[in-house]
């Protein structure tokens, strides 16, 4: 019997299958070399998901922007700026400060893209550079407080019912985003604007507000990830967000979201993140040197997209 899968679910199914393949291949490797199967132990998987939650939250925000056919290159330093400002303020105000930084950066990005109509590719890049400059200027003359506050440590490191709190945060963000995409008018507007902004505008959607909203969500997600990462590494530091930009884009696209906007399901992004996190952990179990990791990483993205990410040929 031939299983039929709706076209929009194909990436999700194939990516899930690949996740299983990675797990099996990794387990086969560890069984043959060490005679154990750490990849299949719940504790190990939870630990991987805990470190994956930072990427997962970044990718969730990035997906909002990619659904519009835009991109947010300011994620690295939004994350860093939120974390560094929050730790500098410290105390009970740390979390609101981080979120405030996220909202402010998102509003700025949204303003540039929606109202000034500057391509997001270059505007968010500029914002990223400015944020980096601000952080260098802020930390250069003196050393502001950079240790994580107790609540950050709790969110990133503690466990609740045997499960890391960070995973709950990731799950919470995921639930909110998934509900928003499928159950609210804003979610619908997001897809409509991403498909064809002109048509969305003519049908009465305030497309500029939608764009601003998406960028705010993206930046707020980055700042939440910044808070968690600060808690996880016990301090905020320059460049802490650099490792998240490209994997976040890759995760969103591997999950079947179209890079030109309008198509994609949140569950796909979730699986994309799990895929990248597991791939990384299997490669580190194999003690693959950085060169091999990069090559495999790139080849996997190309290979997966060749299977299900192909565009229509232009014929008219």
């Amino acid at each position: 019997m031939r299983m039929s899968v709706a076209p929009e679910n194909r990436p999700i199914v194939i990516a899930s299958l690949f996740v299983v393949v990675i797990l099996l291949a990794g387990t086969a490797y560890t069984l043959s070399t060490a005679g154990s199967a750490p990849l299949l132990s719940p504790n190990y998987l939870l630990q991987q998901l805990q470190t994956g939650s930072f990427l997962g939250i970044c990718a969730a925000g990035m997906m909002m922007v990619i659904l519009l056919g835009q991109i947010d290159l300011s994620i690295p330093w939004t994350l860093t700026a939120a974390a560094m400002t929050a730790t500098a303020v410290g105390g009970d105000l740390a979390l609101p400060t981080a979120l405030g930084v996220g909202i402010a950066v998102g509003l700025l990005n949204g303003f540039g893209v929606a109202y000034l109509r500057i391509p997001s590719m270059i505007f968010t890049l500029g914002v990223d550079t400015v944020l980096r400059g601000l952080m260098v200027a802020q930390t250069g003359g003196f050393a502001p407080q950079d240790t994580a506050t107790p609540i950050m440590l709790f969110l990133a490191k503690d466990k609740l019912l045997g499960i890391p709190v960070a995973i709950f945060v990731w799950a919470g963000v995921s639930l909110l985003i998934a509900l928003m995409l499928t159950r609210t008018g804003f979610g619908r507007s997001l897809y409509a604007t991403g498909s064809r902004e002109g048509a969305a505008y003519l049908s009465g959607i305030r497309t500029k507000w939608v764009i601003v909203g998406a960028f705010v969500i993206s930046s707020v997600c980055a700042s939440i990830a910044g808070v968690l990462l600060t808690g996880y590494s016990a301090k905020a530091y320059q460049g802490m967000g650099n490792a998240f930009l490209l994997p976040a884009i890759a995760a969103v696209v591997l999950g079947g979201t179209h890079i030109l906007g309008g198509k994609g399901r949140y569950i796909g992004t979730l699986i994309g993140v799990v895929l990248i996190v597991l791939l990384n952990s299997v490669l580190s179990i194999m003690q693959m040197p950085e060169a091999g990791r990069q090559i495999i990483y790139g080849s996997v993205i190309i290979g997966m997209l060749l299977v299900y990410g192909r565009n229509q040929r232009v014929t008219s």
Binding site: V130, A137, I301, L305, S316
Partner: protein, 349 residues
């Protein structure tokens, strides 16, 4: 049509490029006036050395952008070719020449591969090159796990100084003293190299059917297809030429620094700066408008701005901030377009 009208039309069509060129001239002249040793060969040599690599990479980025795409692998390809060159540029003159050839071939082949993945794999350029960029970095790390290299000293000296030094090193034109070399003797070699590559590779490409097709695809791919233009060939050619330009950047970087360095951060920085340079040079990220010469100007603007920090007494800690603000303000000038739009719908493209 009178000559003047044609000139005005050119200005209207290339307003972004003309503004960038004017900005560069003003910035550069002011810089040299403020510099205690301004307008000297030494300053020009130093400046052009620091500009050459990013100028080549910006030219490389132009082609995918003209198609309406983006190449996130240019910095990585530059890094890869940089590492290849750091292994090969030594030995006898013929070995060195062959090494250069292999270096350029590596980048060109990588660009060709990008083009094939985009055309036959039908994957969006931005995401395809994100992946191939990782592969390029991986290969670079394989070739050169630690920074270092062995580049011929004479070559490094000759190509990073003035034309006189070049002739002097290789005993050409009476050791650089020939009368016909006099007018050019003080020009830095890197500038000559950039102009040479631009004239030999870019200008003929732009005038060819393939080159014009690249512009047509960026404007309206469907229309280009219906007009019977060679779409697939043009896309592959654009990425291949992009790879070649990136390889020129990597080759020059190896000659300039006498080493190769498979640095992921550096590759990323070059890629992002190349996008900024392309936009500053008047090329539209939507595709179809702009030129590699514009990107050259854009790259020079980026570099000149950073040169100012050396002569003006600015707190080094503020430099990244000022660079960022200048970039953001410069690209925000594109917003003037929105003021001219008469119909809201024209904003959505």
């Amino acid at each position: 049509m009178t000559h003047k009208a044609g000139w005005k039309r050119w200005l209207f069509q290339n307003i972004g490029f003309a503004t960038a060129l004017l900005l560069l001239i003003v910035l550069f002249l002011t810089y040299n006036i403020l510099h205690p040793r301004g307008f000297s060969s030494a300053v020009a040599i130093q400046n052009s050395n620091e500009t050459a690599a990013i100028a080549f990479v910006a030219m490389a980025q132009t082609l995918p952008v003209l198609l309406g795409g983006l190449d996130l692998s240019v910095g990585a390809v530059m890094t890869l070719t940089n590492c290849v060159a750091s292994e090969l540029l030594n030995g006898s003159p013929w070995q060195i020449l062959f090494g250069m050839f292999l270096t350029l071939l590596t980048g060109t082949a990588f660009g060709f591969m990008n083009g094939c993945i985009v055309v036959y794999g039908r994957i969006q350029p931005i995401i395809a090159t994100l992946a191939t960029g990782a592969i390029a970095i991986g290969l670079a790390l394989l070739i050169r796990p630690k920074p270092g290299g062995n580049v011929d000293d004479d070559l490094g000296w000759a190509l990073t100084n003035s034309v006189y030094d070049f002739a002097d090193t290789y005993g050409l034109a009476d050791g650089g003293n020939a009368w016909w070399l006099r007018p050019f003797a003080d020009i830095p070699v890197p500038i000559m190299l950039i102009v040479f590559v631009a004239v030999v590779a870019w200008v003929p490409f732009r005038r060819s059917v393939t080159g014009r097709t690249v512009y047509a695809i960026g404007s309206a791919e469907g229309a280009a297809y219906m007009s019977g233009l060679p779409i697939e060939r043009a896309k592959i050619a654009a990425f291949t030429l992009g790879g070649f330009f990136a390889a020129c950047g990597g080759l020059y970087l190896a000659i300039q620094t006498s080493s190769g360095n498979a640095d992921i951060q550096q590759a990323g920085a070059y890629t992002l700066n190349s996008i900024a340079a392309v936009v500053l040079g008047g090329t539209s990220l939507l595709g179809g408008v702009g030129s590699a010469i514009g990107s050259l100007v854009g790259a020079m603007i980026l570099r000149v701005i950073s040169f100012y920090f050396r002569i003006l007494d600015i707190d080094p800690l503020l430099q990244p901030l000022i660079e960022g603000v200048v970039l953001l303000v410069a690209v925000s000038f594109g917003a003037f377009r929105t003021l001219r739009v008469k119909n809201q719908l024209d904003l959505f493209r």
